[in-house]
């Protein structure tokens, strides 16, 4: 590949006036402009999302995302119920990775109250969080290839592994998807030795699965032809637009909250952050693939080192939980990017303000920039490579 490598120099910053708007594209005038609504019921929008697209031939000259088809008033509901009551609702935000949502919320509340989390619980959180990342990245790759028209085979393989991991979630937390597992100051139940053993077994099988995935996809010419050079995101724009997660790292920006904040006990583990040089769909796909391997490394370390001990802060209260007045913003590196919770407490049993900082929504900010000038078929791919879940976009 010979084209210019994208360089990221955060020190330069953005100085041009109005540079951060998507350019306005004029139709070529060779034919009519076709206005097409993709969504809300569209096979490739991962649910109920709509893109109003204007096409000049097959080239996209305008694209406006329309949200809100899954706006379930999560924030409003949370302001009307106890802190604990919102925990199961966080499961339903990004419904592929419920455990990281739990974690982010628990982290924000712990920031607000200053509760301590026992060591074993921290390890369990890391294990579950990384398993969730494996599930998310594998299925997001699967969905991406599905959108490319691979009649579901990679998705099936991804879901085959997902089932194994969901069995683990179910055995520990009682539910496949909506785990509702973490609590303020720890985790709800402890993992048995048998569970840890089963997890080790599943984790031992994961590298084989990633090998299979890479064999199937990595050097596939069709995939490379479709993905490379498509939907390029400049790093300076990515930073300015608040893009986070694999999408940002594919653009070459080294920013992983696990490293930056070192929340939980992440600074104890050895892992690397893969970075892309082109910021296109292929880089995003590969960054997820490589992050799968890093997650497996973290899992192996965590499963080796997990200590015995309690999983709940002894002082933690389940009923009658009333944090002191104040506010806190807690964030984690969820599989899709920075997932933050912003809480304002007025000292009552319910949060006064409860806000989710959804990575999926904010990552979509640059959707139009990435799609302009591309083919309609690429829109679907670019959209898939952003990896969103509507539950989180619309909340």
């Amino acid at each position: 590949m010979t084209d210019a490598k994208l360089e990221f120099d955060a020190a330069v910053g953005a100085k041009q006036e109005g540079w951060n708007r998507p350019p306005v594209m004029e139709p070529s005038g060779e034919g009519g402009v076709l206005e097409l609504a993709m969504g809300p019921h569209h096979p490739s929008t991962h649910g109920v999302f709509r893109m109003d697209v204007a096409l000049d031939g097959e080239r996209v000259i305008r694209l406006k995302p329309v949200f809100g088809y899954l706006h379930r008033n999560h924030e409003k509901l949370a302001e009307g119920m106890s802190y604990l009551g919102s925990m199961p609702f966080t499961d339903r935000l990004d419904y592929i990775c419920s455990l990281t949502n739990n974690w982010a919320y628990a982290l924000a509340v712990e920031k607000l109250t200053g509760q301590e989390v026992p060591e074993r619980a921290e390890y369990l959180r890391v294990i579950l969080g990384e398993l969730t990342r494996v599930v998310n990245h594998a299925s997001s790759i699967g969905f991406l290839i599905q959108e490319m028209g691979a009649s579901g085979t990679p998705l099936m393989y991804a879901f085959r592994e997902r089932e194994k991991i969901l069995d683990l979630f179910e055995a520990l937390t009682g539910a496949r998807m909506m785990c509702n597992y973490m609590r303020f100051g720890g985790c709800r139940v402890d993992a048995s030795a048998a569970w840890l053993e089963a997890t080790r077994k599943v984790v031992a099988g994961l590298p084989g699965f990633v090998d299979e995935f890479e064999q199937l996809l990595r050097s596939n010419e069709i995939l490379m032809a479709r993905c490379q050079g498509v939907g390029i995101l400049r790093p300076d724009l990515a930073v300015n637009a608040g893009v986070t997660g694999p999408l940002l790292r594919a653009s070459g920006v080294n920013y992983d909250i696990r490293k930056v904040d070192g929340y939980g006990i992440y600074n104890r583990f050895k892992f690397r952050v893969p970075l892309g040089d082109h910021g296109d769909v292929y880089d995003r796909f590969m960054i997820r693939m490589l992050e799968l391997r890093e997650s497996i490394k973290i899992l192996e370390q965590a499963l080796k080192e997990i200590p015995v001990g309690p999983v709940m802060d002894a002082k933690a209260k389940i009923r009658g939980f009333r944090p002191k007045a104040g506010e806190a913003y807690g964030r984690i590196e969820a599989p899709k990017g920075e997932l933050g919770f912003y809480l304002i407490s007025d000292g009552g049993p319910n949060p006064y303000r409860y806000r989710v900082r959804p990575p999926s929504l904010i990552n979509l900010t640059i959707l139009e920039d990435m799609c302009l000038g591309q083919n309609v078929a690429d829109v679907v791919l670019i959209f898939g490579s952003v990896d969103i879940v509507l539950g989180e976009v619309d909340r």
Partner: protein, 220 residues
């Protein structure tokens, strides 16, 4: 060379195709109505009300304290407290739910009702085959439909049920001891910590189900 990756991919799918005829790893389908996935003990679906003994009405542990009703995040529990009291398992007169409805068309299976219940009266069932064509009749469970015996509980969550039983037995013993040594309150107080130190042994799972059965051992 062009086409190499495509051939690699074809080889991979061919391996899976051939493997599906010989290895269970490559043919993961569980043919649902006939075959079932080994039940996982911790599974939760919808809540039920526990009763002891054989009479669901008399043995119901619920004392209609309405904590679960208040804590339930989607507000799907409706309880009416009884006017009178009936003796509970410990022989103490207690209120009981004159009405206890759970709208499972709303319930989100979050288990918070179980967590907050101080009486071990509400637990999670594993039954999931509940689809119905009857919107209003089929999805509102009253206390009779919700009541399930302790044996049922032991069947679906053996480890957890044994723990709960042990805990209840302990409480009952404590209560008995209290009653017996009503005169010597200090002695009773001294006896309690000794009993509390008794380790609860986890029961063996009834149905071994793969690697994931043994679950939720005694809390350390």
């Amino acid at each position: 060379m062009l086409g190499e990756g495509i051939l690699k991919g074809l080889a991979e799918t061919a391996r899976n195709f051939a493997g599906s005829f010989v290895s269970a790893e490559r043919l993961t389908t569980v043919q649902y109505p006939e075959e079932r996935i080994a039940p996982i003990e911790a599974t939760r679906d919808f809540p039920f009300l526990l009763y002891d003994g054989s009479d669901w009405e008399a043995g119901m542990r619920c004392v209609a304290c309405q904590i679960c009703e208040k804590e339930c995040p989607p507000q799907c529990i409706y309880i009416e407290k009884s006017k009178d009291k009936k003796p509970d398992a410990l022989g103490k007169p207690q209120f009981y739910p004159a009405r206890f409805d759970i709208d499972i068309s709303v319930c989100m299976s979050c288990q918070i009702c179980v967590e907050v219940c101080p009486f071990e009266a509400i637990k999670m069932d594993t039954e999931f085959e509940l689809s119905t064509t009857d919107r209003f009749g089929g999805l509102l469970y009253d206390r009779k439909e919700l009541a399930k015996s302790n044996e049922h509980y032991h069947k679906i969550h053996p480890t957890e049920a044994a723990e709960v039983d042990a805990r209840l037995a302990e409480e009952k013993a404590k209560a008995d001891a209290k009653a017996k040594a009503a005169a010597a309150a200090a002695a009773a107080k001294a006896a309690a910590p000794v009993q509390a130190a008794v380790q609860v042994q986890p029961a063996k799972p009834v149905q071994p189900a793969g690697d994931l059965t043994a679950e939720r051992e005694t809390k350390a």
